[in-house]
Symmetry: C2
Subunit: 177 residues, 2 copies
């Protein structure tokens, strides 16, 4: 997985014959994604592990206690990386490792009170980052864009699922549609 794939618009404009709108999906995607990623990373800079640490915290909080290995599979991070990540999050007082009463080998990851409070704040900051990225669109366009992007994303995710457990959960939580 690499960064931008298409060169800047003016380059594509010559190579491929297409109109300016058609010529540079890769460029536009890359720019927008990286801008959001940068904003989000800034919003999450004081979380140990950055965006990854936030994901662990958010998932542990939303889905209840999870084993390390489940969490790792769900978020598609190596189990050894998960160890380091949890070491740091635990040191910062955001999560705790608790013995799983059902299996003494396993550890359940639960957010602390401080972790839950931190999470609320982080989610607010992330929404700000989202709004900033979409700042160029008025409310109507913004909604259309989000809906279309969502459709593209859902299809992309179903064709090329990032992690299976996630999609199972999707179906479980979205029974109506």
């Amino acid at each position: 997985m690499d960064s931008v794939t298409s060169p800047s618009p003016e380059v594509r404009a010559r190579g491929a014959a297409g109109t300016s709108v058609e010529a540079d999906l890769g460029w536009a995607l890359g720019v927008v994604f990286r801008r959001y990623a940068k904003r989000a990373a800034a919003a999450l800079e004081d979380v140990p592990g950055g965006p990854r640490g936030y994901q662990v915290l958010a998932t542990a909080n939303a889905e209840g206690p999870r084993r390390q290995l489940e969490l790792a599979g769900h978020l598609d991070v190596d189990r050894t990386v998960m160890t380091y990540l949890l070491d740091d999050l635990e040191k910062a007082g955001l999560v705790q490792r608790q013995p799983d009463p059902a299996d003494r080998r396993a550890r359940l990851i639960v957010p602390t009170e401080q972790g839950r409070e931190t999470l609320c704040d982080l989610e607010r900051r992330l929404r700000e980052a989202e709004d900033e990225v979409l700042g160029g669109l008025d409310d109507g366009d913004r909604l259309v864009f989000r809906m279309l992007l969502q459709r593209v994303a859902i299809r992309a995710n179903s064709q090329d699922p990032v992690h299976n457990a996630c999609n199972v959960a999707d179906e479980t939580l979205l029974p109506g549609d």
Copy 2:
């Protein structure tokens, strides 16, 4: 710069109160971007340096002979990385390093005939990848999505330019608009 920042939709759905459309811009952006990046990387797998190598080839071809350092600044890669990249591209017969008649320290990067032919093929493959990613949208929606994404991207790029030379080039090459 990290990968996805938002967890999967069902996680955000609980944490943030928002509707399903509003809840996960980061997730959707990440999924779509990574899917495109993956497809593009597959299309460019036999190019030395992958997407990066393609960018070098495309830029050298579209904008005429460029010095290594210009190219590096333009594409935002370290000059030492550019050295390795060009070593590989040259070994593969796609570009040549020619002495700059105006400065014997500098090298001009020019694509070979084989490089230009390869580039044509790669651009065709990239357009296929784009179409595949947008496969879920009909022609009308696809156009709307591209236009809105383009607007977001142009604004994002102007606020947080990836590399200055690029924007200068933008203005130079797009005098009418």
